[in-house]
Symmetry: C2
Subunit: 387 residues, 2 copies
Amino acid sequence: MNEAHGAGHAEILLGLFLIYAAAKLSAELFERLRQPAVVGEILAGVLIGPALLGWVRPNEITSMLAEIGVMFLLFSVGLETRPSSLLQLGGKAARVGILGVIVPFAAGWACLTLWGASTVEAVFAGAALVATSVGITARVLGGMGLLQSEIARVILGAAIFDDILGLLILALATSMAAGDPQIGQLAATAVLALLFVGGVAFIGTPLLTRIAPALKNLRIGNALFAVAMTLCLGLAVAADFIGVAAIIGAFLAGVALSETAQEAHDLHEQTRGVTEFLVPIFLVNIGMQLDINAFADSGTLMLALLLTVLAVLSKIIGCGAGAWDLGRLKALQVGVGMVPRGEVGIVVAQIGLAAGAVSGELFAVVLFMAVATTLIAPPLLKHLLKN
Amino acid sequence: MNEAHGAGHAEILLGLFLIYAAAKLSAELFERLRQPAVVGEILAGVLIGPALLGWVRPNEITSMLAEIGVMFLLFSVGLETRPSSLLQLGGKAARVGILGVIVPFAAGWACLTLWGASTVEAVFAGAALVATSVGITARVLGGMGLLQSEIARVILGAAIFDDILGLLILALATSMAAGDPQIGQLAATAVLALLFVGGVAFIGTPLLTRIAPALKNLRIGNALFAVAMTLCLGLAVAADFIGVAAIIGAFLAGVALSETAQEAHDLHEQTRGVTEFLVPIFLVNIGMQLDINAFADSGTLMLALLLTVLAVLSKIIGCGAGAWDLGRLKALQVGVGMVPRGEVGIVVAQIGLAAGAVSGELFAVVLFMAVATTLIAPPLLKHLLKN
């Protein structure tokens, strides 16, 4: 009964089918060209999205499914991450995260200031360069079976510091745009965010590991999966409420369950089903955001290319320096792994645009940088990891 | 970064968490009371929805996720259904489907006519009584491990006939409401729907079984799952386009893949993950639709109770008569299995309301009938199947 759901549902369903089919055809093509499938799926979004064919437009449903998709992706990465292994490398991760925030922020701020932009615009550009889309890197590492490697753990740990610092810079930029930076409130947010992450890692995880055997007494079918989904959604909501990214909450939920889930093959496969279903929507949705028409002006294109180069170099230098004692190759791998800005960079630009602090031109530039870094990093990373 | 997605996303995420947590807690409670988990999950929706606590309201996202959820539920049921086994029982299924449409339609129409409603209102009430929500029954049968049983196959086959006939009656009602019934177009829709179902079953399935070995040559990870999802979405869209319910397309996609997927444990688990994640949203969403305030008027409550009784009896009598040669108990099981009206009944009422053919009072009455039949059938079915 297609009348049954009105044109809206039928159109959305058609959009999902096109997204999914385009993503998978393109992924297959890229695999055959020995290029990363993620790049193929993002480019599928550029192709079918408003930039080229205009078959599907990003909408409330695709962006929500994309967000749930990357949440579950990080949750499933968390399931593969033992808390102890994350802690072992905590110091290194902190250094990578912190340097990987300072250098890109300075680069973005300086570039826009020299370009003649206002202070608020320059701060927003800096904030957009800070954002790391760890989902993209996790996807590449997972595809190569390297989620347990040292550099994967450093990158995932660093992403937590990166996110918390990025949150603070974004909050600073937003309050500057509103005309009154509230330092006290920023400090409170920072403390809350750290308490949340620490609380889940040091209290939640051992607690959960202790009560896990009691889950066997649940009567509902598939109880472990139900508990896992509830925890994932619950911690994502809590993280969002505290001010940290929902995906950090989902990742921590996965980490908290990792000991319990070690033997649970079904849980892994079922989570993988949800992830595999939603992640193509997440990747295509990134590509669909790209607006090619904005670059008819050569000055805008110049700035976009310049900012993209700075975005790549500043993360490689900042994060690479933080990971220097892992050796040159691994430091480079970590740096490149932190390059993709993906949906996080796009979201920062959207906030700036909504706050009236970012012009339409700078918005298009940041969008370009976000998509371009997300396309550049995976083949580079794949190449470096093969050595 | 919760600012990152605006209040909208944060609120939707919170809504999903509440839906999921309430559904699973309630399912656990009902399992302990030896009642079907589906009933618990629907009542969780009544509890947290506008009818009682008002914590979550049904919205575009929950209803879309619910629709995708029931689609995948039927897809996974299809995966367990061999085409041959469906054909064996085709004659019986047709009888059950057809009688299960005629008797409820007549009952709904007669009831409303005697109550003094207009002809169009009476036809809409009849159409709402025709609709079967086979997802609910599939969930109960699956939970008891009975998807391969004879009665499951009869019910699933009958649901296809039921859906096609229901579609025609709804189209007739809608064109009556618009003031010009177009018989030629209805006939064309019917022929198209039958061609679609027949085409997928008799041509698509053997074709797919033949080309399946070639899937091994695909390079993308998890290729079978990717193909399965694409096929499920594609046939759901095609069915929707033809005018059949999207879930019938998804079910046929599952049937078409059932031979190929027989040995693929991963495909089953991954599909189960998607289903288990989305089905609670589907069930809670049904409960959230209920509007209790409409029944302050005792006349309305009377009509709602009367229509519910007729809805239960007319399916048991109609479908039971169609399945009579299976023996009295099995005929009764089939009849009860066809009782839930669920989301399909709700959708019929919504179309009538949108067309201006159904009053607010009758809308509330049909909604009550849809939710009540969905709550009554599972415990009855579970009890009958234990014998």
